[in-house]
């Protein structure tokens, strides 16, 4: 608007050798306004564009690097504990290219995932479905961190999709009634809901150390709120959005073949759908 009026001012101050009709001025102003609106819309779009990054997070030895390798190289390279993150551009079956980032799982360096929060489109939390009943507490602690980070993403940003990957399903025996993948998912879901509920209760009852003092500059970790505001914690009732589960496996050392494709096909579909 401002620009429009100054423009008009300019034009009027021009010695009227070519008398301008009101109509031409109106057209000029309108065109300018239109341009401004278009610019605004485009920049708005740029601001709210969702990120393009899919993170692989989870405890060490969960299989993140193996999945990354399957996505990037179409084969499972043997791997050891990661010391740094990997990232690659992967073309999903939908044709879209997304960036997959594999964050090391070691507690001392796993916080690196925070560097990518602004550009996040999806988080894949990889759980070893064989050991989850043994170290459920540690898995839940990590997942809690992630969920807390996801829920504290500012509302101006589209929240990322969350996928929990019940990995290494090949090592589970398929029950008669369900596939190995389903068994893995059930197991992981159950163990995590139990452990997260423990954390939720502890937090609800607990007085943090910082609550003792005057300053209380620290907000308690959240991320476990349910829609109903009550327990027990269920993924289906998580306030932060939808959480999807898939079972998966990748056999290390195996080359790309039919079997391998099936192992992470659900995960790949999820990427394709959510990208």
């Amino acid at each position: 608007m401002l620009k429009g009026s100054t423009l008009q001012g300019c034009i009027e101050s021009v010695p009227s050798a070519y008398p301008l009709t009101l109509k031409t001025i109106m057209v000029a102003v309108l065109a300018l306004l239109l341009a401004l609106v278009a610019l605004y819309v485009i920049s708005r779009k740029a601001l709210t564009t969702r990120g393009n990054i899919y993170l692989l997070v989870g405890l060490p030895d969960g299989g993140k690097t193996t999945i990354f390798s399957a996505l990037t190289f179409n084969q499972a390279l043997p791997s050891h504990m990661s010391l740094q993150a990997n990232s690659s551009n992967v073309t999903a079956s939908s044709g879209k290219t997304v960036r997959v980032v594999d964050i090391p799982g070691h507690p001392r360096i796993r916080d690196q995932f925070r560097e990518h929060l602004q550009d996040l489109r999806g988080i894949m939390f990889v759980v070893d479905s064989n050991s989850v009943s043994r170290n459920g507490a540690a898995v839940a602690e990590h997942l809690h961190l992630i969920l807390d980070a996801v829920t504290s993403i500012p509302p101006s940003q589209t929240p990322p999709h969350v996928l929990i990957v019940a990995h290494k399903a090949d090592m589970l025996k398929a029950a008669t009634s369900s596939t190995a993948s389903e068994t893995a998912v059930t197991r992981v879901r159950g163990a995590l809901e139990r452990e997260l509920e423990k954390r939720r209760v502890t937090q609800a009852q607990g007085v943090g150390m910082d609550g003792l003092g005057e300053e209380g500059d620290r907000v308690e970790m959240g991320g476990l709120e349910t829609v109903s505001g009550k327990g027990p914690f269920k993924f289906t009732e998580w306030e932060g959005g939808d959480i999807t589960f898939v079972g998966s496996f990748v056999r290390a050392g195996e080359k790309d073949d039919e079997k391998q494709q099936n192992g992470i096909s659900a995960l790949q579909d999820w990427i394709a759908e959510s990208s």
Binding site: S79, N86, E115, G206, V207
Partner: protein, 663 residues
């Protein structure tokens, strides 16, 4: 006799590995494999400048190529004390890089998302044929290893055969003579070419991959010649001889033609990196030499913690590097070359470049009260991770600062859960057999005299009471007069302070005391039993302060731990402590482990974490926190920061890192 050898990328990909024994082969992909243990216990803990790592009877040695983010690892039985491992590692590194550098460069780019998805698509599955790419390596490796092993065997023999002048003569003949004994005319040539390349690469490597190979090599040689001198005159030739011998032996066992072909890396022919044509490679390489660096920053930097303080930290480095600029311009190309290198972002960091910056950082850390040898090790580790990296468009100071802050953050970040409340609740809610009573959660506080054990134990007690637990304090300091009375006062105070929430008819806190001079381990045991019978949730065990060098007292403490097996052993130390921190913690930890395992309670228990007191008195000189976490590898559970019961805090890693780096 090696057990395991592997070549891998820091992202976790194993490019090539071989296990020589079935035992190692079995564990190779488990988390307890030598390589995984090395990464977990040494590299991630910031001990990457260490000489070696011992685990389960294995010795593990390693070396980096920082530029391409590779790790070379060799593991062998500790009792073997192989002397050639470092040289072997250096040779493996040199050869592997020489043979596969283009392929490796492409690979590293692909895990930094530089290749723009071209190779990532479905249709390009063939592009990544790793087996094909490294197919020659097995032969090369075998040959290399055989050379080293034979050399070692010969050395051993000649050491025992003291009266063997013949061996000595043949050993000290110059290379050219040796060559004449080989029938084939083609061989000497190749052999020398190889020797030359080997030598050239070795020196080049020293500049790029860190001087660990070189430096250690010399150190080892020294000790070896020391040993040798006992046996024979063999040692006169000392260092040099061993070196030349490595090269000369290359052609000794008359290799097959195929062998030679595979070893013929002296000519600079384009090598067969998988199915990717050299054409493709070239394109990728060029495109990348600029981008890698900017991308690299992404993985090293943790800037979000520093936003407010970046400038200050920058200043520190800038100042501590006063003489740096002059140093840097001394390259082989002179000032101009170096200028261009920086301008194009292709400057490779050398040890000389880093030295002043690292020295400055070390001084800075020590000013922040970090113990001297911890500062040493941390900076050495940072240097080790930077040598050979391309600088990109940042200054050396910037690179060091970033790497240092990453390293410090890593050391301070707990690797185990520090959530005590959750841990207590979990234990209390774990179902026990119906006939049995629930055991209370027990925490033992240990430390030297006068650091504030009892005071801070009371703070922890207050916090636990606030969280609704019933707490029993066991007065196991039966040594210092007044200790029991002091606790009695605390318990009275705590009992009178209001508690949030519902009041329990029974007291929230009680003191368990048995006077002075008695056996502390016994009192603790009684206290836990009393706590169990009277439905207490937590038992806090106060122990007598003791000097870490007082063996009888340390044994007594270990006995207390072994007898009662507390859920947590917390070391209480002052934030004021400087170099002493290392000695105190090392000795407490070791004494607990050694003596408690000796007294039959199975595996020794060490310190589980720390409580740092008098935090409020040190301002930003919080180096003790770094020293303590580095030494033990364990987290700081609490910091005590004042005189009242509420002056207890949890450590914020980000703030500590800032404080340590701030000016």
């Amino acid at each position: 006799m090696l057990d395991h050898c592997s070549i891998s990328h820091k992202g976790g990909f194993v490019l090539w590995s071989r296990s020589f024994t079935p035992e190692v082969a079995q564990t190779a992909s488990s988390s307890s494999s030598p390589v995984n243990s090395l990464i977990r216990d040494a590299l991630i803990e910031g001990r990457n400048a260490d000489d070696k790592y011992d685990k389960d009877g294995y010795t593990v040695k390693w070396t980096f190529v920082n530029d391409l983010e590779l790790i070379f690892v060799v593991a062998y039985q500790r009792i073997l004390q192989l002397t050639y491992v470092e040289d072997l590692l250096a040779a493996i590194k040199t050869l592997f890089m020489k043979l596969y550098e283009p392929f490796l460069t492409t690979f590293v780019e692909s895990v930094h998302a530089i290749s723009n998805g071209k190779v990532a698509g479905k249709d390009s599955a063939v592009s990544w044929n790793f087996a094909e790419a490294f197919k020659n390596w097995d032969t090369v490796f075998d040959k290399l290893l055989r050379n080293f092993e034979e050399k070692a065997a010969q050395e051993r023999k000649s050491r025992y055969r003291t009266a063997a002048p013949k061996a000595l003569v043949s050993d000290s003949t110059p290379p050219s003579d040796d060559a004449s004994t080989i029938p084939s005319a083609a061989l000497p040539q190749d052999e020398q070419a190889i020797a030359r390349t080997h030598q050239a690469l070795k020196s080049r490597l020293r500049a790029r991959g860190g001087a660990r190979g070189g430096r250690r090599g010399v150190a080892r040689m020294d000790s070896e010649s020391g040993r040798d001198s006992v046996h024979s005159s063999d040692t006169e030739t000392g260092k040099k001889k061993t070196k030349t011998k490595v090269q000369r032996k290359w052609g000794d066992q008359v290799p097959t033609e195929e062998d030679m072909a595979s070893l013929d890396f002296s000519s600079d022919k384009p090598n067969d990196a998988g199915n990717i044509g050299s054409h493709d490679l070239q394109a990728l390489v060029d495109q990348a030499s600029l981008g890698t660096r900017t991308n690299d920053g992404l993985y090293e930097v943790k800037d979000w913690e520093f936003d407010s303080q970046t400038d200050e930290a920058d200043d520190v480095i800038a100042r501590t590097m006063g003489s740096q600029v002059a140093e840097q311009s001394k390259g082989s190309l002179g000032a101009l070359g170096s200028f261009f290198a920086r301008f194009t972002g292709s400057k490779v960091l050398t040890e000389e470049d880093l030295k002043p910056a690292l020295e400055g950082m070390k001084q800075h850390l020590m000013k922040k009260n970090v113990a001297k040898n911890i500062a040493d090790k941390v900076c050495e580790g940072v240097g080790e991770s930077l040598v050979g990296k391309k600088l990109g468009f940042q200054t050396t100071g910037n690179a060091v600062r970033t790497a240092l802050s990453t390293s410090i953050t890593r050391i301070l970040t707990p690797k185990t859960s520090t959530d005590l409340l959750l841990s207590i609740r979990t234990k209390l809610s774990t179902p026990v057999p119906s006939a049995q009573q629930r055991m209370p959660y027990s925490i033992t506080f240990v430390g030297v005299n006068g650091v504030g054990k009892s005071t801070n134990l009371s703070k922890v007690c207050f916090w636990l009471i606030q969280n609704g637990f019933r707490v029993l304090i066991a007065a196991c300091d039966t040594f210092r007069s007044g200790a029991v009375e002091q606790l009695r006062v605390h318990v009275r105070n705590l009992g009178m302070l209001g508690v949030n929430g519902a009041t329990n008819s029974k007291g929230r806190v009680e003191l368990f005391e048995r006077g002075y001079g008695k056996d502390a381990a016994g009192i603790a045991k009684e206290a836990i039993a009393y706590g169990k019978d009277n439905d207490f949730d937590v038992v806090l065990i106060d122990t007598a302060g003791r000097m870490q060098d007082n063996e009888p007292l340390m044994r007594a403490l270990a006995k207390l731990v072994a007898v009662n097996n507390p859920d947590r052993i917390i070391f209480v130390g002052e934030a004021l402590v400087g170099n002493e921190a290392v000695d105190q913690l090392t000795k407490f930890d070791r004494a607990l482990r050694d003596f408690s395992s000796a007294s039959g309670a199975g595996k020794g228990r060490g310190i589980d974490g720390m409580l740092v007191t008098k935090w409020d008195t040190v301002d930003d000189k919080v180096g003790a926190a770094l020293s303590m976490t580095y030494v033990t590898g364990q987290p700081i559970f609490f910091v005590g920061c004042g005189q009242t019961y509420t002056d207890l805090r949890q450590l914020r890693v980000g703030n500590v890192v800032k404080a340590i780096l701030s000016d």
